[in-house]
Amino acid sequence: MSEDTRKKQDMTTAQPSQIKPGTIAPNASISRKLKEFYDAVQEEGIPDRFLDLLERLEAAEQAQKANAKAVDAK
């Protein structure tokens, strides 16, 4: 069997037992995929519902502060 054929068979029929854990190259490929996946979600940005929520929280806080001041002034 030529070196090339053997290589190709390894690729297509890779079983867990054939994998050498801890080798550097597969780790690099796993890390890259993880980053790609994670970055894809990050790049979706901030959904409007969270901006709305923060605005409502802020408004509630301002109202509370204004209330507290009014009470202090009395």
């Binding site: 690729m11 796993i30 995929k33």
Partner: protein
Amino acid sequence: MSAQAESSKADADDRVFKRDLLASLPNLRAFAVSLTGRHDKADDLVQDTIMKAWANQKSFTAGTNMRAWLFTILRNEFYSQMRKRGREVQDSDGLFSERFSVHPEQYGRLDLQDFREALDKLPEDQREAIVLVGAAGFAYEEAAEICGCAVGTIKSRVSRARTRLQELLGVSGESDYGPDAGDAAITARAFGS
């Protein structure tokens, strides 16, 4: 410090808090998606986290790591909700059709779909460890603090997660050592199948 100076310092801290909270949201949300495996659940989790963080603003020390603080809140919230609900039966078909219906264009690449599927198969502790260290940008020490465990535990979880992902994805070392054209095509097919 005068009362006025105190109140203006509090206002400044307030602004910084809000700014940092907002800036952390995309990263926090990506973490939530990694934990839950679903966009809708992740967004509910992020919403709960924002509410909690807001209510506990006072307990956050200005100048410390806001991102780690938020991730800790989100993680605690995730596990406490999981405990409350009990473990849900995972329907991975439904899971994936839901995901791809939300943002189909982003997961068009087959190898990335496979990756998400593999990530979901990891035990929670390994998944969060590899995501925190490998994607969210935390040091091992910070990840350990977020997960409430020893640094060595995080390291071994990350290493086990990597090994498991390699097994699940059938990554073999040879594909990464400068593949020739033929190998690249086979790699693409192997990932696509």
